[in-house]
Symmetry: C2
Subunit: 312 residues, 2 copies
């Protein structure tokens, strides 16, 4: 058997602070046209794909903050992506900043959607693991204010049966947490798609630059292997107004092996034919959860958030 | 600050079916003598270190089975290890097959102990994730009957404050499961020690041999990074009566990087100076669990063992 999804991982180069959403969407449409020529069923765009990675800046004025958020999806600026999806018969994944009213309160989420080949939104995910900090920190070389700008996502880690398989989503820092993949693995996920904006350097401590790429891949590769799922990780890369984001867009097989990876830090499409039936070997043997998992010994994972070391 | 534990990862070459426990212990004592010259505080031996990896054979006779198990620890044969520990001022970790009476029932566990520098057993762990199968499977090139010979361990994943740090244990296939590391990470673990016996080839499906080593390391390295802990993984390696076990003994830093690895498939000691304070950077920032974990979205991990895909 084989159930093939041809996936395009569409890395975006930098989006400067002054670049318009319309320009970013035009760049994405060009990548969709490339993906059509390569017969892609699905194209994956990064986290916060419409704008620069604005959480590196502290803003206090409400209007200034909210200009970075989308109040509806699709909207006038993003409609061409949905039109292209329908015209090309190509699903897509898009990350953006979402502003909504919930129970009379304004909420701001770091959000991603999954759109099918008819241009219909079939799934929405709001980022759970917000990295960084909630207040300005003077000792940092640059800020990472995701906990200031965003509420913790309230969707949980869901999966959707679409495009012939079971697909799930997460966003950026979520990829470092094994719980992210496991919760989707327990719902039979066959492909996790995710976008990220990750600085090339640590804002606080000096760190060997190669290490950050290694750790990012280590998490995606182990998440793939340990749940026997495809993982498609897509970067926004390159230098945004002096701040470099690393690239490393890649497609990871259920064996944990990288089968395609980006070569640069700009707009770049990489493609792989992903047979979802390759997930079966792992799901039926090494990671047959029913046969091998022992939740009675995992209780701490859901009973407590923080670490509690034994008394001295 | 620095809190250094100098660790020796003591890979064992093959133990043939006919080799005595006394011979295996003598080999381990030689490795302890090497470790003493290298100033080790702790030496880590593999899983089932006293005998060949007997779960590859089907045995039905109770006496024949029980000869592979220890009924007490220390016992006459293993006492020299405890004496050397006290004499050398060196802790050790040892895996063995354990037979006990519990509530009037005979139980068999795949067990490991942690012994401190005074030769006192400070911790015991019984393997939770038993791989393989419970009945003879004709289609396999060799058997992996751990579910036949062993009961599921009943200790859970504990940690112990000993040798100046917080140490934990797991065994072989446990290392592939992110829950193993996470449960110890939630108890502040700073060093996980583990042994394994892993065949170089898959008994059922044809597999690229490099892949098995890659996957083993992927799990130990991600477990280390995602919990900001040292991981010491020690193989029994080489060809036991025609069945090859892979080596790959390694010491992994809290960054996820391998800092020492074995070169061969025989008895071999590798050593690293492991500063437990290197765990702090990860535990206080990227993997500050209190700041970033969201157990409310992890509930499936403890609510169900097996995967439940969405309806078609």
């Amino acid at each position: 058997m084989s159930r093939m999804i041809t996936v395009g991982a569409a890395q975006l180069g930098p989006i400067q602070k002054a670049e318009s959403r319309t320009s970013a969407v035009n760049r994405m449409i060009q990548l969709m046209e490339q993906a059509r020529r390569k017969q892609c069923d699905l194209i994956v765009f990064p986290e916060l794909a419409l704008t620069t990675f604005f959480p590196r800046y502290l803003m206090k004025d409400r209007d200034e903050i909210e200009q970075w958020f989308e109040r509806s999806m699709p909207n006038e600026v993003t409609q061409p992506l949905f039109d292209a999806a329908r015209e090309f018969g190509m699903g897509f994944h898009l990350g953006y900043a979402e502003l909504v009213e919930e129970q009379g309160e304004t909420r701001r989420y770091n959000t991603a959607i999954l759109v099918d080949k008819s241009g219909t939104i079939v799934g929405k995910y709001r980022k759970v693991h917000l990295p960084g900090h909630a207040e300005y920190e003077d000792e940092r070389r640059f800020q990472h204010l995701e906990k200031y700008y965003f509420d913790v996502g309230n969707t949980g880690f869901n999966v959707w049966r679409t495009m012939g398989g079971v697909l799930g989503m997460c966003i950026c820092n979520d990829r470092r947490w094994p719980e992210t993949y496991r919760v989707m693995g327990l719902q039979g996920v066959e492909m996790v798609v995710l976008g990220y904006n990750t600085p090339s350097t640590n804002g606080k401590v000096e760190q060997d630059p190669h290490l950050r790429m290694f750790q990012s891949r280590l998490c995606m590769q182990s998440g793939a292997y340990q749940n026997s799922t495809w993982v498609v990780g897509v970067a926004k890369a390159g230098t945004e107004d002096g701040h470099q984001l690393f690239g490393g867009t890649c497609i990871v097989a259920p064996t944990g092996e990288i089968v395609a990876q980006a070569q640069g830090l700009g707009d770049e499409l990489i493609v792989a034919d992903c047979d979802l039936d390759l997930c079966l070997e792992g799901k039926e043997n090494m990671f047959n959860f029913t046969a091998h998992r022992r939740p009675e010994y995992y209780q701490l994972i859901t009973e407590q958030a923080g670490a509690v070391p034994p008394e001295e």
